[in-house]
């Protein structure tokens, strides 16, 4: 899409490019410096467990508040209005609860594990560790499959570069940069880069929010949303908006984000002691609120701004554009490119790129560490040497980079980015929720129950729109092959072909099923060993 042809020009200039380039060079230097401090796998994965509170908070917020969160949040704000704020509020309440009580995370830290699958081995068996680790890596990579493209689309909107070739070049350059410094410095370079990102990003976003309010006016923002979206623009339970099932699903997502997701857990595992774990998570609850609230607000501002400009309105608010995920992802970037002045634009873009990098580095590092520590190493007879682990981890990182590059270019999204991410990640956490919760707090939880729950996680795939279409077509073919189509009727067959299930309802059903199977499996097939000695609760 050529924005210039529609009379839309970004305020991004040469000065802004210089600021961005300076930031990127600084990032490479950090990778080189951090490499000098890496001598073993514990240094590489959990920074030698030397993470203190402030840095822990910065790195946790830096990871979870990435460019992808900005794109997701702004897309939700653009399409759903203020009612999308419930995601931030749930993030705050749930993370605060986890931080204050220390539920799941304190027992994990006390167990001295680096990854969640490592806990599976202590509690259940080595096989559970390998299986759980593999599922975690698959889900992690799937959930971040669209990260690069989403980031690239946003930065293109910000800079005004709209050539498809620019998109591919930008995606490739970013992946190479992330791989370079993550492979080089591991967790040490990740936490330092996250800290810098936290500083740049917080300043940039706070300024942009204030600029939005100053430029559009709070009264105008509220009245425009009220006028166009009605109650659904504010009330998250409204059936024309998100609805009750969506909010319930998001409460589960908020819990998984802070207590089950490996990138959060790894920071708890890297903390000095259990008190620091609680402090880091409690303080980070503000970050979990902010990572959704500010981007959502920017999305709402973009919606109001675009509705006031005819050329933009035609481009972004038509029925077709509202259903096009890539257009709704780009809308806020285009709004910022019109609002933010030169110079500040460079700072904001550097912040966005920093956010892009810091999420990728943590995620890539996390999945490669899990793959090596929990899948490869336990599967080998004599284990792996430190050197072999570091080498395998770095090789796997390169594989991950290639995967996210190819997946982003190939996969048809067909739903909001946020829904895609939580559903892709759901392959892991829908099953991990019962395995961890019951594994820690229920003595009778067994290995068979854990396997059943982990396998159930694959049901999350039904929440992805392309998978639904594929399943629908297969079911329709099956109905035709068995002559059952005449019983169903033409309209029912068409619905089957265009299968459109509610992602939140699918998610809630799969979570419920995973818990049920964990309980049933544990009761019917109890473990022969007594795990009371390895119990960590």
């Amino acid at each position: 899409m050529d924005l210039a042809a529609h009379g839309i020009h970004s305020s991004f200039s040469a000065i802004d490019w210089v600021i961005v380039a300076a930031y990127l060079c600084g990032t490479i230097v950090i990778g080189l410096i951090a490499n000098r401090y890496i001598s073993n796998m514990a240094d590489y994965v959990v920074a030698g467990r030397a993470l203190k509170s402030y840095l822990g908070v910065a790195t946790l917020i830096g990871t979870e508040f990435g460019l992808v969160s900005v794109v997701c949040g702004s897309q939700l704000g653009f399409t759903g209005g203020f009612s999308a704020f419930h995601l931030g509020l749930l993030g705050l309440i749930v993370t605060l609860f986890v931080g204050v009580t220390g539920v799941i995370l304190v027992p994990l830290r006390r167990a001295g594990v680096m990854t969640i699958p490592e806990y599976y081995e202590k509690r259940f068996s080595r096989g559970t560790r390998v299986f759980g680790g593999l599922i975690m890596v698959i889900a992690g990579l799937l959930s971040m499959g669209f990260f690069v493209k989403a980031g690239a689309i946003f930065v293109m909107g910000l800079t005004g570069m709209t050539d498809p070739l620019h998109l591919k070049l930008f995606m490739s350059a970013m992946v190479l940069l992330v791989l370079f410094y993550t492979a080089l410095g591991g967790m040490v370079s990740v936490v330092i880069a996250d800290y810098i990102q936290f500083v740049v990003m917080s300043c940039g976003l706070l300024v942009v929010c204030l600029l939005g309010v100053q430029h559009l006016g709070w009264g105008t923002i509220v009245s425009t949303v009220r006028e166009i979206r009605g109650p659904a623009g504010f009330d998250p339970f409204h059936e024309e908006g998100f609805g009750v099932a969506y909010v319930a699903y998001m409460a589960c997502v908020a819990f998984a984000s802070c207590a089950l997701w490996q990138t959060s857990v790894i920071r708890a595992c890297a903390a000095e002691n259990t008190r620091t774990v609680k402090r880091i998570i409690s303080t980070s609850s503000i970050g979990f609120l902010t990572r959704m609230t500010i981007p959502i607000f920017l999305g709402v501002c973009a919606y109001v701004f675009i509705s006031q400009h005819e050329s933009l309105k035609e481009l972004f608010l038509s029925d077709a554009a509202q259903k096009d995920s890539e257009m709704t992802m780009m809308a806020t970037a285009v709004y910022l490119s019109q609002l933010v002045p030169t110079g500040l634009m460079g700072l904001v873009s550097a912040g966005m790129l920093a956010a892009f990098l810091s999420t990728h580095d943590s995620y890539l590092l996390c999945w490669s560490a899990v793959f090596v520590q929990d899948v490869v190493a336990p599967s080998t007879k004599n284990g792996l040497s430190t050197r072999a682990r570091l080498l395998s981890s770095r090789l796997f990182l390169i594989g991950e980079g290639i995967f996210i590059l190819v997946f982003g270019l190939w996969y048809p999204l067909g739903q909001s980015l946020w829904e895609f991410m939580v559903t892709g990640g759901g392959v892991y956490w829908f099953g991990a929720a019962p395995v961890l919760i019951l594994g820690i707090y229920w003595r009778r939880a067994s290995r068979v129950g854990a396997y059943l729950a982990l396998m159930t996680g694959f049901g999350a795939l039904l929440g992805l729109k392309p998978v639904q279409l594929l399943v629908g077509k297969l079911l329709a073919r099956l109905a035709v092959a068995t002559n059952y189509d005449s019983h169903l009727g033409p309209s029912c067959m068409e619905n089957l072909r265009q299968l459109d299930l509610s992602t939140p309802k699918v998610g809630l059903c799969v979570i419920g099923l995973a818990f049920a199977l964990m309980v049933i499996g544990s009761l019917v097939f109890p473990d022969r060993h007594d795990f009371s000695e390895t119990e960590v609760a």
């Binding site: 796998m41 240094d43 030698g48 203190k52 704020f85 931030g88 500083v199 009330d235 609120l289 902010t290």
Partner: protein
Amino acid sequence: MEFWIKLWTWVLAINLLVFAALAITVTIGGFGNIFSMLRSLRAQNDEQAKIPGQAAPE
């Protein structure tokens, strides 16, 4: 609807204020933590280097 408008207005306002305060605190505190972490890593590495034949902790 008025309830939600009021709620979201307060949520956003308080969030911006608290996040600004958090950003300042973490920026200052985190700076010191970086040096502390690097010192600790260097000390651990030196300690390992002193013990011949000692395997690196995993």
